[in-house]
Amino acid sequence: MNQGQSEPASATGYVSNADLGGQDGHGTVHPEPEGELFHAAWEPRVLALTLAMGATGLWNIDTNRAARETLPNYRELSYYRIWLEGLTKLLLQTGAVQADEISHSRAVHAAVATRSVLHAGQVAAVLARGSPTSRPSSSPARYALGQWVRTRSAAPRHHTRLPAYARGKRGIIERVHGAHVFADTNAQGLGEQPQWLYTVAFDEQELWGETTPRQHATVSVDAWEPYLEPA
């Protein structure tokens, strides 16, 4: 058992099925050559549909990740199936599409208002611009390079980006990235609420205990300030 293991996420009412770091039993990795991007003809369509619908502004990247990670059958799905199921879920949740339209393969209900439609001529510029998440900071950074911190141990009842393996662990601030859109609030529709973002590095024994064979490794996560407390 890991020391300092926090309560299981299932006790909190929000379950991410995507938080895989440190789990045993998933087997070996199967490398693939550089050019192999897709394994079925529908996969690039799902990629493009997801990117195009992202441009409508009906949801943000964090609500999108929350929709995917809470799919009950996440772990049985291939990656682009996860994208397809996540996209379908968001379309239904926002009312952009209704279930009878998907089953009949035909638009039946009026469209909801969207911010924009991505047209072919805009693709290169929209991709090149991206969606930066850095924001002006309203307060000074609480932590400085080289400072020891401890990550929060409780699993929140909502989407978060602190992996379970890094909860309640002591680490050191290795980089300060400025203030960024806070994924936890943005995913819940509570706004961007920018927070300072840090790279926090952990010794392997802090993460996995002393019984796990040493790898001579250090692991870091990127953590927003609310994930951290002084150590």
């Binding site: 199967h30 690039p44 072919a120 290169a124």
Partner: protein, 214 residues
């Protein structure tokens, strides 16, 4: 349990259930005016032919040849990479991490599939798969072994879990005996995996520069 790669796609000469679902969804989204079909084709073409790991290879080769560029890359990777024309979606906030004789860097996203698209394109299937995401933070040397890479214990492994919107690019070590090569020839030695950290650059003349511990 069968792996996700083999889940539901049985196409016996007809369209799979998933294929039909995707087509239905695309039809509805088009009819409702949410999407421009030409934009879908443009997006796919972009990631199949324009944005991929050859972009990152150019960045690495430039850093190997130009010490001032290397310095800028390590200091502000987003700006340095943008100066070569690569920027934007899923690479808005770049950090370059340099391999040295003492440290080997590895990049993962244990929570989903975060990956530096402007320089590496779309992530490979293994990068998004449970075995890589689960194991690389706990057993990085085992994962490197799956890729045929064996590093001596004296080389410290540094794993970067991309849990926010910062994206990491590994700057591999320049292969030995490559002094005579042009920047373009050097770029051909830079593999996608060497920029994720699961591989090493090719040696001049062909093979990977994997140094196996005795």
């Amino acid at each position: 349990m069968s792996g996700p790669e083999h889940d539901d796609e049985h196409q016996h000469g007809s369209l799979s259930t998933t294929e039909l679902r995707v087509r239905a969804l695309e039809t509805v989204l088009r009819q409702k005016g949410y999407i421009d079909p030409a934009a879908l084709d443009e997006l796919i073409d972009t990631y199949q032919t324009k944005i991929g790991p050859r972009n990152g290879a150019q960045v690495v080769a430039r850093a190997w040849c130009d010490s001032e560029f290397r310095r800028r890359l390590l200091e502000d990777a987003t700006a340095a990479i943008a100066s070569l024309g690569f920027s934007g979606r899923q690479g808005e906030h770049m950090v370059a991490v340099e391999n040295t004789p003492e440290q080997h860097n590895l990049v993962v996203c244990t929570l989903c599939s975060c990956y530096p698209w402007p320089v590496l394109g779309l992530p490979p299937t293994w990068y998004k798969s449970a075995p890589y995401r689960a194991r690389v933070v706990k057993d990085p040397r085992g994962v490197l072994g799956d890729f045929g890479v064996h590093l001596p214990e004296t080389v410290r492994i540094r794993v970067w879990d991309s849990t926010a919107e910062v994206r990491y690019l590994v700057l591999p070590q320049r292969p030995a005996a490559s002094e005579h090569l042009s920047e373009h020839e050097l770029a051909n030695l830079v593999t996608r995996d060497s920029m994720i950290g699961t591989g090493l650059p090719l040696k001049p003349g062909g093979a990977s520069t994997a140094h196996t511990s005795p």
